[in-house]
Amino acid sequence: MTRPDPVTEPADDRVRAAVDAAYREEWGQVVATLIGMTGDWDLAEDCAQDAFTAALATWPRDGVPRRPGAWLTTTARNRATDRLRRDAAGAAKLGQLAVLAREPEEPPVPEEIPDERLRLIFACCHPALSFPARVALTLRTLAGLTTAEIGRAFLAAEPAMAQRLVRAKRKIAEAGIPYRVPPAELLPQRLAAVLAVLYLIFNEGYDEGPEERRALTAEAIRLTRVLVRLMPDEPEPRGLLALMLLHEGRRATRTDDGVLVTLERQDRSRWDQGLITEGVATLDQALAMRRTGPYQLQAAIAACHATAPEAASTDWPQIATLYAELAKLAPSPVVDLNRAVAVAMAHGIPAGLALVDELDASGRLAGYHLLPATRADLLRRLGRDADAAAAYRTALELAPTDAERRYLEARLAEIARR
């Protein structure tokens, strides 16, 4: 029975808050530990869920344990032992799991539970899984989002999302995807795959959308913080965290009444200086390791923008240099387009426009709305209004979101007026 506390807030609410906090902090770790012990992803999730249900039932009576994570892991582990004992196949499996035989009643000291989330992250982001499957698995098993929540965030029906998760877990088991941190020779490539999944989750939430979709940026930041803690000697996770924090710091000003606001016109006084300061500090830690990478370069570019007191004082020559480095490290026509803008701002519009025209002629960005939008913007700055208007119209036909279409329409109207 729960005893309401008449003096402070109701005990149930406090326990509920403690369980919620533990869920966010510990879910991934409990699941990771259970997968490590049993090799069974479904069993791990079920037993983790049972442990949190047990916490809701017993913590109001017994109080919140001193180490909630250890309590939850032990409870989930006991539950797994019980369930494996109950069926014959499981009993055989149990025989192999010496770790389960070890006095399950005694709460282990924290040092005894190694953080297995790193193994889980690499398994979830294995390249043999499809990209959508990697994203869904990461959000389910590491972040603890429910299938329904992931479905809503990705605008997919819950049964479809559930099936995606089932298939992914089946492939992990049947194809023998390893549950481990990759060896050194595979690490750079596999770490890049993990970072790509985390950045995709962030970007999915960064655009305008329903609340649950927007919450993805916070999930991505939380998961990247975990990765940084688990791989403190790798600079690129820090680079990615810095990049996310710097973007997040400017988020509130990205749109105004559903219309995209370009960096140049954003109200810098509304940027979140706390996030920006942390982003810059995180980037500095990464750069101090002296192993550059694409995320560190992107974060450095974002930092140039975020730390400029006003648009006019942006260090464009530095940004142009960073984009040139990025183009060498991670060649992409989108990077070339961004470099063209930086060159235009640093070394004169005609120089940048020449690079954009070169890209246009190459056809590498055919159908990408930001190519004509960028051309239009540079032509407008040169005063070539008729050419600019034509380019804005091309961009309007290709723009994928309402916020961008509204922005382009506003610019087109501006030219028509002058």
């Binding site: 294995h126 043999a128 049947e174 194809a175 023998g176 995807i177 390893p178 990759p182 595979l186």
Partner: protein
């Protein structure tokens, strides 16, 4: 884990067995496979013009000329492996010369 590697390409290169034996990439690959002790069996297949596909539909046996799937690439060899996990199978597949112009499909063995 047991895996089967399907060594695929579009058959434009089609080196002979003798040519493959002296190909440095193939030699390095074979030496690596030997070192791992992963090979459980393997065969090279004749070109796809010699292939026959058998399907049974509604109790009727349909025999057709050609490979199972009409795609650009064809299975040119089969290899049976015993590996620690998928990553080891990927490493072996990636080392095969055909991976450089064709592809190698990895199929876990259904035991």
């Amino acid at each position: 884990m047991k895996y089967v590697l399907l060594i695929c390409d579009d058959e434009t290169a089609s080196p002979t067995n003798e040519e493959l034996e002296v190909d440095p990439v193939h030699r390095a690959w074979a030496a690596d496979l030997e070192r791992r002790g992963a090979k459980r069996g393997g065969l090279r297949l004749r070109p796809v013009v010699d292939a026959t596909t058998v399907r049974v539909r509604d109790g009727e046996t349909l025999v057709s000329d050609g490979p199972f799937a009409e795609t650009k690439d064809f299975v040119g060899g089969v290899l049976i492996l015993e590996c620690e996990d998928l990553d080891e199978a990927i490493a072996i597949a990636a080392g095969h010369p055909y991976a450089q112009w064709g592809g190698v499909e990895i199929r876990p063995v259904w035991e």
